[in-house]
Amino acid sequence: MKNFGPFNSYADALNAACPLILSKPNATVVHLQDSSPDVARRAATEYCAWLYYTPSELYEMSMLADQSGPGDFVSGMRSCSLPPFVDDPRYSAEQLKHIFALHNHPFGTRLSANDLRFIESMAEVHDWEVMTRNGKVRLSIIAFFSKSQDPAAPTCDGFYQYVPATREMMLWTRQNGQWKLDVHGIVTWINERTYRLEPQ
């Protein structure tokens, strides 16, 4: 994607992707949650993209897939369809290492069971662990969130992350430019649609 990186480390790429995705229209609606919850639900919009590693040993982000076209707002479903392969004309699909499936949760909710199912299904076409200049990086899904009450300047306040290879669930939070790992657990499935965390 234009005007994004490329970056030498995935941490720097995440640092840049988080505020960029959250600055899209209605990517965060927590400022409306209490005053007008129905408006917030209708406006809430998910965006998704791949963070990937190129043969030039750089991290880049794919074009943002909007959750929906303008004609999709009538639907109450808020899913985001991320194409399984990045389309980067400079490289063939097999040359690109897909690392993080990025999206946002407009209310800052945790990863849904379907988010976990999505990234697990990506194992059919992507490696669960790839070697990069920063060492091994594992395929995972990430949901950014903001707690900002100012829609004009949404802050990147953290993200949830799930790693299928290790079944790790993490909550990373960001304060004053510092990242902190707030929650770290291992996922077990209670049933097809419910997961639980065993604290680490």
């Binding site: 941490a11 995440l14 640092n15 129905d38 209708r42 809430a44 998910e46 004609g71 999709d72 707002f73 009538v74 639907s75 109450g76 479903m77 808020r78 899913s79 985001c80 369809s81 991320l82 399984p84 993080f100 499936a101 949760h105 407009p106 209310f107 909710t109 945790r110 990863l111 849904s112 069971a113 379907n114 988010d115 999505f118 299904s121 990506m122 059919e124 490696d127 669960w128 920063n134 990086v137 594992r138 995972s140 992350q161 790693v163 290879a165 290790t166 079944r167 790790e168 510092q178 990242w179 902190k180 929650v183 770290h184 291992i186 209670i190 419910t194 997961y195 965390l197 065993e198 604290p199």
Partner: protein, 192 residues
């Protein structure tokens, strides 16, 4: 005849009365396979309560008179699973991949509803919008699955400095040993 409106009013997709009682616990999968309704040559009967629950859910997600532009967001592109427990009818909605010829699901492509005997929406959990209290830390049975983040939120406190410090953790970093074999790799290993 009133024709013009300065701002075209968008149909309200989620306008049904919602009680949003977070103590409502959704049942797990039943041991029995769900019966697929609508197979050719077989007749089924659906009682009024179940039909009403399905209509309430469908109207809430897919307002009458509207049709989403993209296939996966449409009413006919979902699977609806119904479980009755006491007075409450639970409806689980999942993307039906075959309906749109898709191979992989979308993120946040599910929803679940609890419909009461009076036709109200007792609980609504739409992926990406509502917190699903059932997911997260293990809890004692019967407490409604409310999260107890205080217990586990306090454990790791390592900090990564964004100004180039190398101590501690890097956001996005995986920390645990691999437990799940890569299905793609094991498939590769099996082929010549």
């Amino acid at each position: 005849m009133l024709m013009v409106s300065a701002c075209a009013r968008r149909p309200e997709p989620l306008s049904a009365a919602v009680v949003n009682d977070r103590s409502v616990v959704f049942p797990g999968e039943s041991e029995a396979e769900a019966i697929t309704v609508g197979q050719p040559g077989v007749s089924y009967s659906l009682d009024g309560d179940v039909l009403r629950a399905l209509v309430i859910v469908a109207n809430d997600l897919f307002p009458p008179g509207t049709r989403a532009a993209s296939c996966p967001k449409r009413m006919e592109a979902q699977t609806y699973r119904v479980v009755r427990k006491g007075d409450v009818i639970f409806v689980f909605i999942e993307e039906n991949l075959a309906a749109c010829g898709r191979r992989f699901p979308a993120m946040d492509s599910g929803a679940k509803y609890a419909i009461g005997a009076d036709g109200r929406i007792l609980r609504r959990v739409v992926d990406g919008l509502d917190e699903d209290d059932a997911n997260w830390f293990a809890v004692t049975p019967g407490d409604g699955g409310s999260p107890s983040e205080a217990d586990a939120g306090s454990s790791p406190q390592r900090v990564w400095m964004s100004d180039g410090g190398t101590e501690g953790l890097v956001p996005g970093q995986s920390l645990a040993p691999v437990v799940a074999p890569n299905p793609r790799r094991s498939a590769d290993a099996g082929s010549p």
